[in-house]
Amino acid sequence: MKFTKDWLKDHLKTNKTEAQIIEKLNNIGLEVEKVESEKNELGDFIIAKIIKAEKHPNADRLKLCHVDIGQKKLVKVVCGGPNAKDNLLTIYAPPGSIIPKNNMKLEVSKIRGEISYGMLCSESELNLSNESEGIIELDQNYKTKIGKRYFKSNSDNVIELSITPNRPDCLGIRGIARDLSASGFGKLIDNKISKIKKTGKQTLKVTIEKGKTQACTIFGSCIIKNIKNQESPDWLKKRILSLGLRPISAVVDVTNYIMYDLNRPLHAYDLDKINQGIIVRNSKKGEKFKALDNKEYNLDGGMCVISDHQEVLGLGGIIGGIKSGTELNTKNILLESAYFDPEITRKTAKKLELNSDAKFRFERGIDPNSIKMGLEKASEMIIKICGGEISKLDIQSTKKIEIKKILFDPIIVSKTIGIKIKNNEIIKILRDLGFKITKKSKSLSVEIPSWRPDIHDQIDLVEEVIRIKGFDKIQSVEPEKKRLKPTLDFFQRHFHLAQRSVASKGYLEAITWSFTDEKINNNFRENIPEVKIINPISSDLNVLRSSLYPNLIFFLKKNIDRGFENQSIFEIGPVFTGKKPGQQITVICGIKKEHFLDIYDIKKDVVKTLVELGIGKNETTIVIKTPNYYHPGRSGSIVTKTDQKLLAYFGEINPKIINKTFGFEIFLENLVNYKSQNKKDKPTITFSDYQKSDRDFAFVVQKDLKAQDLIEIISKVDSSLIKKVKIFDVYQGGNIPSDKKSIALKVTIQSDFKTLNEKDLNEISQKIISNVEEKASAKLRS
């Protein structure tokens, strides 16, 4: 919403400065977004004097002028104006300025071989009149002003507000004035009552078809005959321009003017193009309509249209049609001022993807009581500019305008904001905003003004009071430093720990979109259902991710392109398993690309992270089964021994997806569930101080025997004596048969009760050998 202080003064008698007004507007909830000097391109045009006008050497009709623009040097300008002559005072447009008539930006150019620095302007080029025959001739009064701007620069700034959707009333300058007045910034000037004579009845029949889904409940109109439509006068054009709109004709400009002045959208029809009468009805499916934006719309059923007996003339509250639009030669008009239901209007516009100033206002709620005022003010302006005769107003309505009242207990104000405001002050603020108040014992009966569709409850009135009183009056209460509940719950603590645990292993944390490319995602989706976004930001971000890998790999590759061959990155975040709320799990996924990396590097990272998260190595086992996006021979899953809960995957990523890259995924919910179901108290530990002995063994085993199983067999031989089994070599080839391998390991044996002697040690060693040979069909390597 844009306005100028000059325009505001039509409604508000105030002596406040622009800066004060801007500050106040911010403080009462009408946020000032921008302050711009009005049409500042007009500031470029400079009063100048032609010192000498010579004939252009290469063109008969052109002149080469040496022009004084108030600077040391004269500038050379090629000019086609027949009246260009020595000593003429005129207006100069420098290179870079924009000519209002055609919105062209001037450039230094060569005209028939002569360079021209800028241009001397005609009245038509500056949109001052239609005079285009010669350049402007200024009188001698301007002699002392050479080099100065022609257009006064003391014109108002354009103040742009960002109006929140609850305040349609402030989409009109009068509403802004009312708010300012209520906050002590001047007096709201009464709307003048029109004194223009209205002759005759409005003769065009207007019918509103009744129905539950009828958006239009009031349709007011009047006819103005025998006008001479024309360009608007300068003052009106200037105001239309300040709104950022383009002046079109007096009739159209006036309707726009009233829309911004009173927040009262109007529409003008060419009366002679209306077939018999106006019918406000719901559209039929398949009806076509060509709107003023030059687009043809295919209407659904049930959209509110203004039609005549032949066809659709306009979409109610949204946009008018080409057929009945006014033009400069329009003689007779029908002026419409109506009320359209916000919700239905919004729905229609949304379906047709149509936006307009009128729709923006109607969907927020227009004052139904402004219909008459709008018609009167507009028609008065039109006949002042274009002449003509106005008919009496015709107001058709199907519904009485409701008067909303709220019983308001003013105690709620202090209860909500924490400071006391006297009842008298509350009443004054509300009255100044247009609320009508009668006292009812301790409460107030508050009648809501018809321009405030946003006020429903007592709490809305509280906001009105404190908004005008000033939020700075609220006294800050120091927060209490008291904690009743732990800040993080069990799961959140693990999230936090997991994040920092992985980062501490040299991984950089990345945050990537929760969505990804369907095609890449499919590589990682397995059996998880695909979750599509109906309206993605781009076609390569069209599904919710089923894994953290797609985005991480995408960015890993990008970093490789940036020249980083060695990388470790990770992300912790949601992965989506379905399209219902809550169908998501938390995954920590790391990827690593380095020279000389192998599966045991990544396994170390994931196992160490699990240990740091409180999962002992002896609580899990490795299962050789992973999703297809892992290298089948170089990946594994880590599951809990007690209940086979999947805690993590690790391994080389399938080379079909990316070459020589390793990764892991930890499933945090599974981990935390396992931990909360297997809470263990840390037992008191006793350390054995008796002699520890190491014995080395080498077994020749089947090639596919898992090291994990061998360790398991040995550990179980005597768990009270065997403290540790560590593999230190795996060997194939040489004198080992090709279907076998040799595993060398060190077993640490220690008793908690005595020093083991040679005999004890031999006994346990023999037991180990026989167990392994029997259970793993192995042979001790000699």
Binding site: I474, I511, S514, I537, N559
Partner: protein, 355 residues
């Protein structure tokens, strides 16, 4: 001088002159060995009278002590000499680089979430979370934003289902409703998380992070809201004073609603928070609308309170001088390394927020 004394002095002399551990070893046997001086001398004791025995024994013992001391000193000296010799030869170029190591990093957004949690922890807020995929009901309707209301235009929503009933949450506010529905007042929570709007340009990304705050109890007023935010902003930016401005605004789920600006100035191309005459909008807040409380099965006649929503990414940008929001999500290795935080740098109440 007795033979013993002579032999003793001879050995003493030998020991003093010994040059290396091999020689010392030989002398050691000569003194302390099975047939060494001391043992042989003790053996002789048996043939002596009790009086002489006593006298000679004490002589031997003192000689033994003397020789032991001398011997130990000699051994220590020899070891020291040998180490000195070795050290002289051992010389490494310590300016050669250390072995490779990698320092991982925590993303600034995660770090800032931890900082915020730490600050609110101090005043009794706990952390709640909600799903990224939400229903229309929790994201809008329950938050007093009816269907076909222009307030929805402020949110460009990503939809998951054609019927627009499931969507990616456009703000963290649905966590308010979910939290209240599953518990009983009072509520004092913050909810950080991912949020989504179909918007992408210089200053908007389709995914960003928000922090929701909610405090519902009896008699919680806008004064408490002001105090809480004032405390938070001061702690977060680690400054002693802060300039703050509450401007009335509109959010369907709070009434009265406000936007909060903080004062700042630009000094040497850097932003200084808390001083100066420029204003920067940083958050939206207000008193929870009675309709939201009703939708959350909380009696608005008994309970009231405030809620706020802050853009986490923006806070991170301001605090750590990051210019481009989009860079947060582009995973540039250099960026992650430069703006990321050491994982050991955990923001805590007792240690402080930043290093």
């Amino acid at each position: 001088m007795s033979d013993f004394a002579k032999l003793r002095d001879e050995l003493k002399n030998k020991l003093t002159k010994a040059q290396n551990s091999k020689e010392v070893d030989v002398i050691r046997t000569e003194i302390f060995g099975k047939n060494g001086l001391i043992n042989l001398e003790f053996k002789k004791l048996g043939s002596l009278s009790p009086e002489d025995k006593k006298k000679v024994a004490s002589e031997i013992n003192s000689a033994k002590q003397e020789l032991t001391k001398l011997f130990n000193n000699k051994v220590t000296k020899l070891i020291d000499d040998e180490i000195d010799q070795r050290i002289k030869k051992e010389k490494d170029d310590v300016t050669l680089p250390e072995k490779d190591f990698e320092i991982g990093k925590i993303h600034p957004v995660s770090q800032v979430i931890d900082e915020i949690s730490s600050i609110f922890s101090e005043i009794g807020f706990s952390v709640e979370e909600g799903p990224d995929v939400e229903t229309e009901y929790y994201n809008f309707t329950a938050l007093n934003t009816p269907e076909n209301h222009p307030a929805k235009d402020m949110h460009d929503t990503f939809y998951i289902e054609e019927n627009m009933k499931t969507l990616l949450r456009t703000h963290t506010s649905p966590v308010q409703v979910r939290t209240m529905l599953k518990g009983k007042p009072p509520f004092k929570i913050i909810a950080p998380g991912r949020t989504y709007r179909s918007d992408s340009d210089q200053t908007h990304t389709p995914m960003f992070h928000q922090l929701e705050g909610l405090h519902i109890d009896k008699n919680i007023t806008m004064g408490h809201l002001k105090g809480c935010l004032n405390y938070f902003i001061k702690e977060f930016f680690e400054v002693n004073k802060i300039k703050m401005r509450f401007r009335p605004s509109h959010f369907p789920f709070t009434e009265p609603s406000a936007e909060v600006d903080i004062g700042y100035k630009i000094e040497n191309n850097k932003i200084v928070i808390g001083e100066g005459d420029k204003w920067l909008e940083i958050l939206g807040c207000g008193m929870v609308h009675p309709n939201v409380l009703k939708n959350s099965k909380v009696d608005p006649n008994k309970f009231q309170g405030f809620a706020f929503g802050i853009g986490i990414d923006r806070l991170a940008m301001l605090k750590y001088g990051i210019n481009d929001l989009r860079s947060f999500f582009e995973c540039d290795y250099r960026w992650l390394n430069y703006y990321g935080f050491d994982p050991l740098d955990v923001p805590t109440n007792y240690r402080g927020l930043s290093k």
